[in-house]
Amino acid sequence: DEGIGHPKAKSPKMLDSNNLSEYFKQFLFPENECELHDFKLSFSQLKWDSWIVAPHRYNPRYCKGDCPRLVRHRYGSPVHTMVQNIIYEKLDSSIPRPSCVPAKYSPLSVLTIEPDGSIAYKEYEDMIATKCTCR
């Protein structure tokens, strides 16, 4: 059925019994799939190293990539995500496709010098992305 399959996917290879999973893969998972990427920055690049003493390097990470058409279990996406994808593909392509965004974070400990010269150790919530999802 030519309607099935990711519009960008290559034309399906001849179906061969022993690479059935390969055949399905080209429909289910896009090439540059939604996943977590590193971005290591140091506070000196932001000119904040005069008051942020530690950590020296900070990797907030980020999510990037295309969301597969059937995104339920693999990304913990709600059914709404599939509905949105169907709307985009079948009804109105001005509706955005599901986006690849962070789903979980971890905290960061920061050691800073305060304007009055005192020193503060603080733990901030949600500073590092640890898992991506499609929404």
Binding site: K47, W48, S50, W51, I52, V53, A54, P55, R57, Y58, N59, L70, V71, R72, H73, V79, M82, S106, P107, L108, S109, V110, L111, T112, I113, E114, P115, D116, G117, S118, I119, A120, Y121, K122, E123, Y124, E125, D126, M127, I128
Partner: protein, 280 residues
């Protein structure tokens, strides 16, 4: 945009309110990023110190202590270590803004010193609740005690502008026994019970008078170094949304384990549902 239209609409009162009320664009710009463009969390970091903002340099010994505390509590990447059970997510170290010290010690008693210390705790924010507080002494030189040496510390904590006796907190003297080893560099004196009521009632200028006395055995000679002015260390639980709440993450993990693996929806969509008759 709604509020902006309102202000633009009612031009006279709008202009008046625009002039009086500080507008976001009034914020000093931090390089190319005005604080308003940053996510709320980094705004907490940026707002409290804009790189151009003047700042006092911290005491180097205090900074060394806090760097060591950081390594104890977090990994090199800055991830809080999960093996910690206590609830504080903020530790602040204050050095005295003013101090008066009378170093005096007699050959007989070895009285160390008495000090009048003034601490300004303005950096403690309202959502930060005090859990523990210690006076932190760093030994200027290594002091050689035998383990039998007993030290007595006599503390009075009060609000500086208040001089009549009723303001004095009930003075607390605590019997502190020190046993020094070769590399011992810090002494901690717990002042939580004295400080708690003041911090809880939003007092931020604290006056602490300390009298430190150490007794030695008759035949023992020891060269007593003069202790340097102590820092005040406060352990706080920041209850604001931006702060990391350890017990929250523990509770979340517990709940997540309650609902083990669910049959994924798309498998049912692709391979069809099990026969409902069978399930019924």
């Amino acid at each position: 945009s709604q509020t902006l239209e309102d202000e633009a609409g009612s031009s006279t009162s709008g202009e008046a309110s625009l002039e009086t009320k500080p507008q976001p664009w009034d914020q000093p710009l931090d390089g190319e990023n005005s604080p308003d463009l940053l996510p709320p969390l980094l705004k907490v970091l940026v707002n409290s110190h804009l790189p151009g903002a003047p700042r006092l340099q911290p005491d180097s010994i205090a900074l060394r202590y806090m760097k060591r505390l950081y390594k104890t509590y977090a990994t090199k990447e800055g991830i809080p270590k999960s093996d910690r059970s206590h609830l504080y997510n903020t530790v602040r170290l204050f050095t005295p803004s003013a101090q008066h010290q009378q170093p005096s010690w007699g050959q007989v008693t070895g009285v160390l010193q008495s000090m009048d210390l003034l601490f300004n705790l303005d950096r403690i924010t309202a959502p930060e609740h005090l859990l523990k507080s210690v006076l932190l002494y760093s030994l200027k030189n290594l002091v050689y005690f035998s383990s039998t040496t007993k030290c007595m510390c006599y503390l009075v904590v009060k609000e500086p502008e208040c001089f009549s006796p009723p303001c004095f907190r009930s003075p607390q003297s605590s019997n502190l026994q020190f046993e020094f080893r070769k590399n011992h560099k810090w002494i901690e004196i717990d002042v939580t019970t004295l400080l708690q009521p003041l911090v809880a009632s939003n007092k931020r200028n604290i006056h602490i008078a300390v009298n430190f006395t150490c007794y030695k055995d008759q035949d023992e000679l020891f060269d007593m170094a003069i202790l340097m002015a102590p820092s005040l260390l406060v352990y706080l639980n920041d209850t604001s949304a931006q702060a990391y709440h350890r017990w929250n993450s523990l509770r979340f993990k517990g709940r997540h384990q309650l609902f083990p693996y669910q049959r994924p929806m798309e498998e049912e969509l692709i391979w069809g549902r099990k026969s409902s008759r069978h399930r019924r």
